[in-house]
């Protein structure tokens, strides 16, 4: 599986969060950029559905930023 930054940004956009996509930084945690806990749960669900993976609660520290999500999914 090869996941790109653009794909993950598109999913964050689809989740309809309060974050500004134009200024969203790839290497900062999403929760520090106006993505709240409910939006984060929605983003993780969209990721699980799109990439047909299970992201367990134990792995949440590995999927905090767009870059870390890309790395996490590419390691699957």
């Amino acid at each position: 599986m090869t996941v790109t930054v653009e794909e993950i940004r598109s999913i964050v956009d689809e989740a309809d969060t309060m974050a500004e996509m134009d200024t969203l930084v790839n290497d900062l945690p999403l929760t520090e950029q106006d993505v709240d806990s409910l939006d984060m749960a929605n983003i993780l669900l969209l990721l699980e559905e799109k990439y047909e993976v299970k992201i367990p609660d134990e792995d949440l520290s590995q999927v905090q930023s767009i870059n870390s999500i890309v790395n996490y999914l590419n390691s699957k």
Partner: protein
């Protein structure tokens, strides 16, 4: 045909403001209003039990409906906060209302899916036993089990009870029901001493299960969104109601949101909204869908015939 004749509700007058809790939990107004969707949650009086709230709902039923106690043949209480482990709360309600000794009374232990399950149960039970009038109560007081320091649940839940009068003078009649359970994940929402909820797990379960379940039920009955007047979804939170609506791809005006001033009232959330629909003149099909503890879900199509 047996169905819902009318509904009465009891929502305690006492409310706790969630704005007073926003600093404690570091929530802003937008999160309270547009994500949780609860500005204040209803709290019963100290010492009030499930049966007391049922009696209050019944008092409200009596004030709006000409009802003869002697004609009640069935009394079901949906609750997971019974007055006692033994006996069943329906027996206590039966006694407090002075219902006739010939009246059947039993509890159904279910949470958010309880009204839809209860509706199917009471109609089937009454039909099979030739009964003409029955009462379906929903009643839960989560203020007794919520940890006031838990940010996942402290702002969400409200106390309430409802009573639905089932008779052959129906306003709503059932068309079809569908049910489901995922018992393997029961720990995601449970109460040992206080309520514990894995918010992410419950969100994922609901967002993936409810829309598919509703679509399958419509398809089974060869109905589409065009044939549905409204979708009455369990009011879990604003975010979950919005998420299900978006996944169903239906207009916002067809999916009422009503919990802002009293909270998530568990199995009472759908009858509280349905009670308001009784006053309208819009005939047609309505979808009910609820999901929660168990994990359990239930959906129904009902038709408003008058």
């Amino acid at each position: 045909m047996l169905g819902i004749e009318t509904i009465a509700t009891y929502i305690p007058k006492t409310k706790e403001s969630n704005y007073d809790l926003k600093e404690k939990f570091e929530f802003d107004d937008d999160f309270i209003e547009n994500k949780i969707g609860v500005k204040q949650h209803a709290v019963k009086d100290e010492g009030f039990k499930s049966s007391d709230m049922c009696v209050k709902a019944f008092d409200n039923l009596k004030s709006t409906t000409d009802i003869n106690i002697e004609e009640i043949e069935c009394c079901i209480v949906v609750t997971q906060n019974p007055d006692f482990n033994i006996p069943h709360t329906a027996a206590i309600v039966h006694g407090k209302l002075d219902l006739p000794s010939s009246c059947a009374a039993f509890d159904i232990s279910l949470g958010c899916s309880g009204f839809v399950y209860g509706l199917s149960n009471i109609i089937s039970f009454m039909k099979n036993n030739g009964m003409k009038k029955g009462l379906l109560f929903t009643s839960d007081q989560y203020s007794d089990i919520v940890d006031k320091d838990d940010k996942n649940t402290a702002l969400l839940f409200g106390d309430a009870a409802t009573v639905t009068l089932i008779s052959d003078d129906a306003t709503f009649i059932p068309i079809d029901f569908s049910f489901g359970t995922n018992g393997k994940d029961y720990k995601e929402l449970m109460c040992e001493e206080t309520l514990q909820m894995n918010g992410r797990a419950v969100f994922s379960f609901t967002a993936t299960t409810a829309p598919k379940h509703i679509k399958a039920l419509l398809s089974k009955n060869t109905l589409t969104d065009k044939n549905i007047e409204k979708y009455y979804l369990h009011q879990g939170s604003r975010y979950i109601v919005d998420t299900i609506r978006k996944r169903l791809k239906v207009d916002a005006e067809k999916v009422p949101f009503d919990m802002m001033e009293y909270g998530n009232t568990i199995s009472s959330s759908i009858p509280i909204m349905l009670q308001k629909e009784l006053a309208t003149t819009t005939k047609g099909n309505y979808v009910l869908s609820a999901f929660g503890v168990g994990l359990s879900w239930a959906s129904a199509i009902i038709e408003k015939i008058k």
